[in-house]
Symmetry: D2
Subunit: 348 residues, 4 copies
């Protein structure tokens, strides 16, 4: 940490800052310039220190020089993390992970027939919501534990691992029992108690970025999970909130290569939420893979205009199949594979 | 709800949309123009309908004409809600509520002496964090239940109701036992399970706006609590996340008069988080009261440069006392009172 | 400027960075720590240097320690700047400046009667648009030079200085001839050629903040004007663009005290654009004055539902008069005056 | 336009709204429901009407049902526009346009050698700035007309059309003389006078999206140019301003397929500004092409750490060549061509 002291500070005031640094068990290294004195703080960085020094008299600015996360950083663990999620599927390796299925599980038949359809089109992980976060208390909030059972059965039947969202510590045992991957939704990215708890579970966790989550905050949220002993975290970029109202969210494609640079964790893309409009899902899916994403999460529904949630962003079986074929060509161009898909088709 | 159909739709396609409306148990009212057909949907509005209709062929746009919340709306309950929070203090009436205290409770003596100091300056509610949400897993996360006990004792000793944050369903019994007002933090505004649970408790709840929470989402979050039977919700504007990096958050003063227009619930302002810089706290506190806020929440610490969290935005006893005197003049100008404060002092 | 070098840099690579610093005519001051080497750059700061150093191998981060503006900064010129704008009116002193009038000048009678009305209510500067920036090429774009003449005549008749927007270098002579204050609109905040040109004119300039203008960029835009020799710049906060769609813009009240701290220039508030809804104008006007603004700019129209532009945010004569009385009480509480207004009235 | 009237409106008040609609020369079509009356406004839409009606008593909301632009819309002109920019290069057809070169032209030799290098790597349009918008008045602002001459000479020498930015009406003749494509920068997207003027020129115009420009505003800005008679507008997505500080701008990949759906105009991507970090340029370039962009604009500099501007986001000759080979594979996957590039290379 570097502290820049304003030109008006007296030697006594600088001594006071140095003393405060030493009180915290760190050392101070002074660099006295003609205009400003710059103090290097030597010792472990702690998040609260920046705040603390900024309040002091004559401190002009405080600059952090180290990253606040450790276990998730590429410096700490240079090779890519590859996560085995069951049924022979991995996330983070050359083969792309494609998680597909309905926003909400509506009944046993619905999730099973969707599972067969997405598998046929090349998906290798089945998604489906049993506990749904909804803006309004009056909206459909999912089938709960029944939904979990239907999902797990559909996964077994089609030989695919399943992923579903955990919304609360209350449901952790049920979700961990049925799911192969536990999803933490965007609204819970900084639900720190929930992060602690999934950190103690022996199941891979997919952590979505919050609507206004900065990359650094997102990596720190992943750090919560790793710090509790669970190394299997998949990040998921799902669009951020901006001033633009033409789409539900703005998919942040920059995040993909930057996260790859900063962290060893795999990252997948959710263009369904990232756009909120089914017509934009396929081009943004292609973009994400071209930028280096390790996979996709896509909402698919047999009949989107009858979906109980998120119809506007769901693909039909037919449009999903078409999307997969166009993604396949992109995958090849970036040396990734999509094993379940037929010959690549042109995107346009 | 109004559905605008594109000019290319055939009569059969329009019939299909009408049939879909009728399937949901609602009625369709057609208005055929020279260019476009407009369909009014008559019957109860449901959040999922907009999405559903937007996916249909030839639907150009769907417009909601009713608000998605009910119990929190001013239409439903025209008079201002005034909430009794104990120790003779109300929120929402002519007397302003001033919640003050440290970000984190650090020890028994610390919260008690701060309580005496803020009470002397005119605060009427004591705040203090026992469970702290922190971006980093390595930061100080609060004293937990010990903190709750120290806080409650300091409230009794100084005859003030106390407010503290509840982060998880896990801690609801403990927090409800010690706190007079339960705070739901910005990161949990859409932690819907937690909202359900505090809706079942018989204690007032203060609901902070999320970093990127739209007014409508915030009111819907409050609706969750009222829908479970708890009518005593206080809203708290605490700054939103924008592109501006000169402050930690951007205090949204527009929200205060708009929330007053849309809802009967009281709203208080937190300029400490709303700015993140102690030098801006007093002017923004004055602004909030001038705009119609029902009170303030202010971080005060005996020695901000030794605070375990949020030092940069905490006021000292002295600066808090000065702020209260300047707010007092503003309160008088908008016909509100601040009973514990001496003669109003000029702001500059 | 401080350059943080990553731990992997070899001594030769550090030498290369030092050489590059010296090539620019500056000196390097090394501070070798156990983990990182930190290089202080001694000599004048230049905006391009940060970029340049960030591209170099093994440079982890570059931190600016000085502000990029000079003439506008409070360090350079500690006392408040007070600008004489004619007809005995000043901006930046104890008396508040109140600029009021229609968004667009619609005809001679319209601006004259509005001038009389706003003056009667206590305004001391007349505003009116002759050249109007409009999102659509098909919207009413103002009366042009005829409008300027009507405005100037109305100002003379009512003994008020007038302010109007200059949109292009093309119209600078005409606007400078008729206006007492030249307004640079939000969309032109970084129209650098226009800033250069108004910097050469001997008239006060009011510079609005851009929709997504950071405080630092805004002050740099003002620096452009001062750098050309025109010291009379008034800043105007008019709301920023955020994710919130409940209002046209989000008025950034934090900006007022922060700009006062960083700069000696006066700052006024435009709650008409800052909210876009007439019902929010008065409370936000009060908030701005409570936060320390030096004045207000308010859209007033005899008949807002017949206005040719911005009707939704315009006050009627009656609501403007009422607003002025409520602002007057706030002004008194912050030791400012509003000389043309009768006895302060309560705000609620 | 649809006007929703609140339940409390009396028949007389509804008549008043209808009369106001008829005053504007339009017709009103009433649809009286049990709760609300809905009024359809029949006749040409005008941007000011929404505002006007929203101010009227008992109007709850006003909904536009037509798009505010016409000439740029895909409805008006269904086929893709393909623009001939000279030297046999087109923008909008199957062959991708790749505009490459330095941010600023530094001297004659510098632009010429860069031109040779980018041409060799497969670029087909040469970019270079002669008039540079800079946040600070003290930064290097370009060589002006000398720069234009060097640029045009380098284009002739390498047989490539050239593109450069026009910042002000003042320089329009000079820029139009030397440039094959006139660039309007992000900060001038709503400099409406400048848009009018380039609309009168017979040269293709590339219009960058503003930092906080909504898609609708951007298309309206293009409409300004087409409305003056110039049909040759290329749109350029260059990143928007969000809360994320890890990159200079957030490249909005959603904009590409949405613009393609709404408009017939070609759209290119600028990942150099869209990320601000050279390490992210290649993956985001690939993403843009995968999403359907018609081309790229890339900053290339022989020696980025000596660049006079934007060094941090410039590619070297070597990294540009590598990027082009990886983009080539993506182009093939979406049935586009990049004729100047050798065999496609893998992206990773």
């Amino acid at each position: 940490m570097i502290i820049v002291v304003s030109p008006e500070a007296s030697p006594e005031e600088i001594d006071h800052i140095v003393a405060r640094i030493e009180e915290t068990g760190r050392q101070a290294h002074l660099s006295v310039g003609t205009e400003r004195t710059i103090i290097g703080v030597i010792g472990p960085d702690a998040p609260e220190l920046q705040d603390m020094f900024e309040t002091m008299n004559h401190v002009e600015s405080v600059h952090r020089v180290t990253k606040p996360y450790k276990l998730v950083s590429r410096d700490f663990h240079p090779p890519d993390t590859v996560i085995n999620v069951g049924h022979g599927v991995t996330v983070g390796g050359p083969e792309l992970a494609v998680m597909a299925g309905p926003c909400s599980i509506e009944n046993e038949e619905h999730i099973l027939s969707t599972a067969h359809a997405v598998k046929a089109a090349g998906a290798n992980i089945l998604r489906g919501g049993a506990f749904k976060p909804r803006s309004s208390p009056y909206a459909f909030r999912g089938l709960g534990e029944d939904g979990l059972r239907y999902l797990a059965a559909a996964g077994r039947e089609t030989d695919m691992p399943v992923i579903t969202e955990l919304m609360s510590v209350r449901d952790i045992d049920a979700v961990a029992e049925y799911a192969d991957i536990i999803q933490i939704g965007a609204r819970n990215m900084q639900n720190f108690i929930l992060l602690d708890e999934v950190g103690k579970v022996r199941k891979p966790v997919m952590l979505k970025r919050a609507l206004s989550g900065q990359i650094e905050e997102w990596l720190l949220a992943a750090e919560y999970i790793l710090a509790q002993g669970n190394p299997d975290v998949i990040l998921c970029e799902r669009g951020i909130r901006t001033f633009e109202t033409a789409y539900r969210n703005t998919f942040d494609v920059n995040a993909i290569p930057l996260v790859k640079e900063l962290s060893h964790l795999p990252i997948v893309a959710d263009p369904s939420h990232g756009t909120g409009k089914w017509g934009l899902v396929a081009p943004v899916a292609r973009a994400a893979i071209a930028a280096g994403a390790d996979g996709l999460m896509i909402e698919v529904h047999p009949n989107p205009d009858h979906a109980l949630s998120d119809g506007a962003q769901s693909l039909t079986y037919e449009s999903f199949t078409k999307m997969m074929r166009s993604v396949s060509g992109i995958a090849a161009a970036v040396e990734r594979t999509l094993s379940g898909v037929g010959a690549p088709a042109a995107a346009r």
